[in-house]
């Protein structure tokens, strides 16, 4: 067997290509999940039962299904219903749907934690509900939600490895394929773990910095 350093150099390009896909899947599903989560949270705190209920049902429904099943469903069942999606698209949508529930609940907690006096002050200058949410409640709710949102982000990054089951060649799947062709499990999976840490450690650091900065003006 070639020396360790040579093997690392040999494996790295493949794993890096998987790493990029991991970043892409995570980034796109995070944006989608955040937008949807914001939608669920504002629906659930609207105070209108007709708007609130559908969001509650959607969230409870999606939260009750394992990510793997959601991914299989979107990738294998949707084509039968006439919706053809690439593995990448299906992976992003599946992760986004599942995580929109967690992120939505995080935002809802943040919205509900905003001091009631803020709502009253906004109302007292004649603000209507929508503008009050946008300008007064959500900016404060976002600060409150930031630490749990950061956790969700890191969890989403790690759970992006789940899309390997529908053949998206991200970091985990690249690692698995490389390991089974080289039988060098120790080196390959150690490299995979280190590459994940290269993403999660800076991300955690970044979130802590952001929390400190945002907390400063409150």
């Amino acid at each position: 067997m070639a020396p360790l350093s040579e093997r690392i150099v040999e494996y790295l390009p493949l794993l890096i290509s998987g790493l990029w896909l991991t970043v892409a899947v995570t980034f796109l599903s995070l944006i989608l999940a955040t937008a949807l989560g914001l939608l669920w949270a504002t629906m659930r705190t609207s105070g209108n039962a007709l708007i609130e209920r559908p969001a509650r049902y959607i969230v409870e429904f999606l939260r009750g299904i394992p990510i793997l099943v959601v991914l299989f469903y979107i990738y294998f069942v949707m084509p039968e219903l006439g919706v053809d999606l690439s593995a990448f698209q299906a992976g992003v949508i599946g992760l986004a749907l599942t995580y929109s529930c967690y992120i939505g609940e995080t935002f809802r907690g943040g919205i509900e934690a905003v001091d009631k006096g803020q709502v009253e002050a906004a109302k007292s200058i004649g603000m209507r509900h929508g503008k009050m949410m946008r300008r007064i409640v959500l900016p404060q709710a976002f600060r409150i939600s930031l630490p749990p949102y950061g956790n969700n982000m890191v969890m989403l990054l790690k759970d992006s490895s789940q899309v390997s089951v529908i053949s998206v060649a991200e970091l985990t799947l690249q690692g698995k394929m490389l390991a089974s062709s080289t039988f060098d499990n120790l080196t390959v999976f150690s490299m995979v773990a280190v590459l994940y840490l290269c993403l999660t450690i800076p991300l955690n650091f970044l979130m802590r910095r952001l929390e400190l900065r945002m907390g400063a003006s409150l």
């Binding site: 001091d115 006096g117 803020q118 009253e120 002050a121 906004a122 109302k123 007292s124 200058i125 004649g126 603000m127 209507r128 503008k131 300008r135 007064i136 900016p139 404060q140 600060r143 003006s217 409150l218």
Partner: protein, 243 residues
């Protein structure tokens, strides 16, 4: 300007307002006094629809106040409110707090709003704190920003809900000074307060509330110096001589 006609309000089974009648005329300062739980804050909050009421009518300039109607937003732009705990927007500077209503609710031009907001902050003595966030201001300063925020709406009347009771004693004076000036300029105000001395100086009329009813009503002199009602007498004795 603000008229109450037989106003009833309940929280569940507990009736907190049991038929309130009264009027605050334009340019007047009316003070609501009474023990805690007497319903005075609730009555004040009904005027701009932060609470609804079940019976009777509240009229602002002959317009019916209905917390559930779309017209409430318009009424709120004309009747500003100052809260006990200030309720400044913590993510905005003092200046942004004052600009928020005129700029984003009334849709007035930014340059004009900014200039006026600076004037309002100057008049409450905070010209040097325009760019401070609420967390960097003392309670008295925060309440003065809140008064500037109310003034910036150019309201017909201002409601004040115990504006000095959350303040440290040494900061009460600076807020009352601002309110005294407003009273001199004939700003219509309805004030829930425990500051009897302040009420005596500025109030055109005083309402003493007791258990959801107006037990006594008259000029400051009548109610605060020569109260007729036994409960008013008792309340004033306890407030002015606490020990």
């Amino acid at each position: 300007m603000i008229r109450f006609e037989n106003v009833h309000k309940s929280f569940g089974h507990i009736e907190v307002l049991k038929g309130i009648d009264g009027e605050v005329e334009k340019g007047q300062v009316a003070c609501l006094i009474g023990a805690s739980g007497s319903g005075k804050s609730t009555l004040l909050r009904c005027v701009n629809g932060l609470e609804d009421y079940q019976q009777g009518r509240i009229l602002v300039d002959d317009q019916l106040v209905d917390a559930h109607a779309a017209s409430i937003h318009d009424i709120r732009t004309r009747v500003a409110m100052v809260f006990q705990r200030f309720n400044l927007f913590p993510h905005m500077t003092a200046l942004e707090n004052v600009m928020e209503g005129p700029l984003h609710v009334l849709g007035e031009p930014r340059a004009e709003v900014r200039e006026r907001a600076e004037e309002h902050l100057t008049r409450v003595g905070l010209a040097d704190r325009v760019n401070s966030y609420p967390s960097a201001l003392s309670g008295g300063q925060q309440q003065r920003v809140a008064i500037a925020r109310a003034l910036a709406m150019r309201p017909d009347a201002i409601l004040l809900d115990e504006p000095t009771s959350a303040l440290d004693p040494e900061m009460v004076g600076e807020v009352l000074t601002v309110l005294r000036d407003l009273a001199e300029e004939r700003m219509t105000m309805l004030v829930v307060t425990h500051e009897i001395q302040f009420a005596r100086e500025v109030a055109s009329s005083v309402f003493f509330l007791d258990k959801g009813l107006i037990a006594e009503h008259g000029s400051a002199e009548e109610v605060l110096t020569r109260p007729q009602n036994a409960r008013t007498q008792d309340f004033l004795r306890r407030v002015t001589h606490p020990v």
